[in-house]
Amino acid sequence: MTREIAVVAFAQTDHRRSTEESSEVEMLMPVLHDVLDRTGLKTADIGFTCSGSSDYLAGRAFSFTLALDGVGAWPPIAESHVEMDGAWALYEAWTKLLTGDADTALVYSYGKCSPGSVRDVLTRQLDPYYVAPLWPDSVALAALQAQALIDAGDTDEAALAAVGARSRADATANPHAQLTGRVPQGDYVVRPLRTGDCPPIGDGAAAVILAAGERARELCERPAWIRGIDHRIEAHALGVRDLTDSPSARLAAEKAGAFERPVDTAELHAPFTAQEVVLRKALRLDGSVRVNPSGGALAAHPVMAAGLIRIGEAAARIHRGASDRALAHATSGPCLQQNLVAVLEGDPR
């Protein structure tokens, strides 16, 4: 019998252009306390802790071990870390709970983009033989994808601008968002992408608590049950992929059961406007689905936390009864190379 596992609490920082006055653990700790407070749990009650982050962002070696100061890791706790977005840390925690080794898990992630140049930092994740020596920055690669979509007739610059405008308008209802309201579309950063097509650069952190079965019902009035979760990856070579499609997102969604019944909400991790176009098509989201009511990654994009935040935002909507069945998506790598899809549901009301 498969265990039922739910997101029972979610917390995040206000996302800001810079948190230079705080170290990573100083930025993260209030979020950890916030998410624990929502369940009444203490760190000692948590069965498994898993985090996602990248030391490259802030250039601070082993920052993830220093961040552990914030969870109170003594006496020794069961703990793991992925050098990925926190959504993948959540996936690991979910599998841990499935084994029955733990009943609760704390998942957190953080990203401090402000100390470095995230456009350049992300070049270091590319193929080191054929691609990284050219230093193609993250906006340039997203722009190649956007142009491919425009050439294919899937979108145009006005439609892309509308994605950004809708996201930032929705973000006015999100007190944690960094970029909200009417934001000028701006000049080209790398054509065809303009400032408004790109995510804000900023720092932030997020945390989620998972719980299994009855424990979830004790900790949360309306748990967001993870009905399915899966992640898939495509080839790393950009020239091998069809950049106008996302077969990995589609397959992850299929394996997560997303196509079995319609969802009412989708939180998509699309840092660039054109990527929302790709994902809507791959995930078969029509106009009836509320996409990124939080404002999404175009309103706040703490790298390594932005995917986990999508799961948290979707879960929080279920917690407060604004959604019954939601899809949450996270991405990693250039041009949506790797994709994770989770399907969350609330108990019938």
């Binding site: 700790m29 950890l32 250039g59 100061d69 054929y130 691609v131 790398v190 091998v240």
Partner: protein, 316 residues
Amino acid sequence: MPEVLKAPLVVEFPFTRSLGPVQSAFLTGLRERVVLGVKTTDGRTLVPPVEYDPVTAEEIRDLVEVAPTGTVTTWAWNHEPRRGQPLAGPFAWVLVRLDGADTALLHALDVPGPDAVHTGMRVRIRWAEERTGAITDIACFEPYDGEPDQPGGHTGEFENPLTGIVAPARLDYTYSPGRAQSDYINALSAQRTVGERCPSCRKVYVPPRGACPTCGVATWEQVEVGPRGTVTTYCIVNIKAAHTANLDIEVPYVYAHIALDGADLALHARIGGIPYDEVRMGLRVEPVWTQGARHPDHYRPTGEPDADYDTYKELL
């Protein structure tokens, strides 16, 4: 709030990477102005070539030469090139499917402006003057309106094939240590050592990191500790430091954990002013400051009687 401390931080590393047989042939080929692809078992030609089929993961080794001419499959106009990118002036990023290939290669296209580039346009490789066996042996692409070049049928066998590359990487940061460590560093510059007490377990952490690692709660109550302390444990260093800042230190020397009076965590520092073989657990020490320094240069014996083991055994 006091001023946030900041300092430039450059992380630089030359990655030395070995090459597989396909990568070696491709990069050696670029050195010789030959572009090689690799055939998959379903008959497609991948350029740039990889060692394993991206779909089936089969090992693929069947090299085939392709033309230095090709077609742009997508592009992006880069009006403000960044450090390390192929061209210093504005250029287009392009994916190019070379004639004879089924997949596209990422590179730069040298054209005067965005109006001079479109998907489907014909381009050819402009070779770098000096070639070493790297993707940058292709200086960039340039517009080309001639017939497709015929590939030469090269087998991929070269004299002196490359076996590895050195890929330099450099990232620039502005480092800021955060609230607790800034306070610590600011106090040190006034020759004071200031830790922080955990509100829960009452332990005093030096240096403070803003959180109690045992309780997982924020620390903020500042506690001045030392300046004197006790050696809790130590080691004798016999290897001369490679770092330039430490070149003046003669070996052997002693590096020790020191529990400053009032602190619940030992910090570490060099011990001087005493022969290395006379340092011992329980030795009482004090900091020695040099002119203008932001931290003690080393610690030296105070001359007090050694501390009783029971006074520091919890701090080992």
